[in-house]
């Protein structure tokens, strides 16, 4: 019985360490849990972009930075609500994207906007201005996709050019081998005529 109990305890410890090792930490209920819930509808790429903005703000020795993180998380939900109410035609994902990026750019970095300043600014933005922002934001991805397509085409063209050059070179070498009349004799160190 004691043996089984010991085995069970060891297994529990192993599972716990395994979870820690995997980095599967429970999201902190005061920050990451609401971020996850509020941005659930966003595209994966946009979530990655937001995460890249948030993560570097942690671990700062500047106390204002911690305040900024708190301001961001308390301001995110109302910002999303304001954007959604002003822009009915935006999808849930796009409205969340606009709201989260505006909040991230203004609230996450200390010294840019206070919660009150940001709330006043968001309140004054017209639906047209918000739609323009959404349009501009979406065009970034479209431009990036176009850029990527161009880069791939250029790389393919360069690859083909190199392959063609190599093929041409190999054909020249083959032709020279077939048509040559002289050959270097390593033993004598001289060029000699090929006798056919």
């Amino acid at each position: 019985m004691i043996f089984l109990f010991n085995i069970l305890m060891i297994l529990l410890v192993v599972v716990r360490r395994f979870k820690i090792g995997l980095g599967l930490k429970t999201p902190s209920p005061d920050f990451w849990a609401p971020v996850g819930q509020l941005t659930f509808s966003m595209d994966a790429e946009d979530k990655v972009n937001l995460l890249a903005h948030i993560v570097p703000r942690f671990g700062s020795e500047n106390s204002d930075q911690n305040v900024a993180l708190e301001t961001f998380i308390t301001g995110l939900k109302p910002t999303i609500a304001v954007v959604k109410s002003k822009c009915n035609e935006l999808s849930d994902a796009d409205a969340t994207l606009v709201a989260s990026e505006l909040a991230a750019s203004e609230l996450l970095v200390p010294g840019r906007s206070t919660k009150e300043e940001f709330a006043a600014w968001i309140g004054e933005l017209t639906d047209e201005e918000l739609m323009d922002y959404a349009k501009a934001r979406k065009s970034v991805r479209e431009e990036a996709s176009a850029e990527l397509r161009t880069m791939k085409e250029e790389r393919e063209a360069e690859k083909k050019r190199l392959e063609d050059t190599k093929k041409k070179f190999e054909e020249q070498v083959e032709k020279a081998r077939k048509e040559r009349t002289m050959v270097f004799n390593e033993k004598t160190g001289k060029m000699e005529e090929i006798t056919k």
Binding site: G21, L22, G23, L24, K25, T26, P27, S28, F31, W32, A33, V35, G36, Q37, T39, F40, A44, E45, K47, V48, N49, L50, L51, A52, H53, I54, V55, P56, R57, F58, G59, S60, M151
Partner: protein, 302 residues
């Protein structure tokens, strides 16, 4: 000229009359190395005692420093290395940029009788041609493009019996089984500064020895970093942050590789890594890494 010889013993097989400024031998047997007149210094180290991703686990060897030697020789030793990739990593670090590493090994049967048991199982199972490919792959998989001019040579005497001669020819050839082969490469230079005309190449060189990341990850991150770098062409502080933050990539990937690869594909991981590096506040400190893990878990990313 300074030479580091791994697997050193009582003889270095160098041509007579060569004067070397420094010739450090690294081997298992100090008694044998002391008999070798070519060696100016000796270090006793087990080349099979390694630290993954770091190289040979020897303080004395590591204290020789980086970019120290003009030439590294490994003769009649590669067949006994159980973790050659790590040994080659140590060699790459110790070699000066432009320095050459030469790995010489005899034909399969040469040392079989005397040291067959010590040869690795993989080495014993392959023929000489395959050994050449293996030696080349050890270079490739230790530092990738950090090695240049990878070449293989058959330096066997003309009279040597060839393994691929065919049965009849081998019986009729009375020559000795003393074929010898060399695989060599030179160390490429790491970019000190990012070349604005070819940042991709510069970033790639900074990642040659980056642990944790797979070659696939390096291939995905490099163009993204270059793009971000060029995007901030008017912000030198951002560009500097990107260059300095390359060393944080192992920490990022340490966290990322434990995530669900299907839900969080490699290209998105590379995008996230490149974006994090471009932030001057990012230094991969404990809180940031914890935030990264929790951000993933909270569905902030898929």
């Amino acid at each position: 000229m300074s030479v580091l010889e791994l697997g050193a013993a009582e003889k270095s097989y160098l041509p007579d009359g060569i004067k070397l400024g420094r010739h450090v031998g690294v081997g298992l047997n100090k008694g044998l190395m002391d008999k070798n007149p070519a060696l100016s210094e000796t270090i006793v180290a087990d080349l099979n005692n390694v630290v993954e991703e770091m190289g040979v686990d020897s303080d004395e060897l590591n204290q020789l420093g980086s970019d120290t030697f003009d030439v590294i020789l490994i003769a009649n030793t590669i067949e006994f290395l159980t973790q050659p990739r790590e040994v080659f990593k140590s060699c790459w670090r110790a070699l000066k940029p432009g320095g050459i590493m030469m790995v010489a090994f005899p034909e399969r049967e040469a040392l079989k009788e005397k040291f067959g048991d010590a040869q690795t199982k993989m080495w014993r199972g392959y023929n000489d041609d395959q050994h050449m490919w293996m030696a080349g792959s050890f270079f490739q998989f230790s530092a990738g493009d950090g090695w240049e001019g990878l070449k293989g040579f058959d330096i066997s005497p003309e009279s040597a019996k060839k393994e691929d001669e065919g049965l009849l020819a081998r019986f009729s050839n009375t020559g000795k089984s003393n074929n010898m082969f060399v695989c060599q490469a030179t160390k490429a230079s790491v970019s000190e500064e990012i070349d604005p005309n070819d940042p991709e190449k510069s970033f790639s060189s900074l990642m040659w020895m980056t642990p944790t990341m797979e070659s696939r990850d390096k291939l995905l991150v490099t163009p993204r970093l270059s793009r971000v770098y060029l995007h901030y062409k008017d912000q030198p502080a951002r560009q500097k942050a990107i260059q300095e933050n390359v060393e944080t990539l192992p920490s990022i990937y340490e966290a990322l590789i434990k995530m669900d690869q299907f839900a969080f594909p490699f290209n998105l991981q590379a995008t996230l890594a490149a974006d994090l590096l471009s932030d001057p506040d990012f230094e991969a400190n404990d809180k940031q890494m914890e935030a990264l893990k929790m951000g993933k878990k909270s569905n902030s990313i898929p």
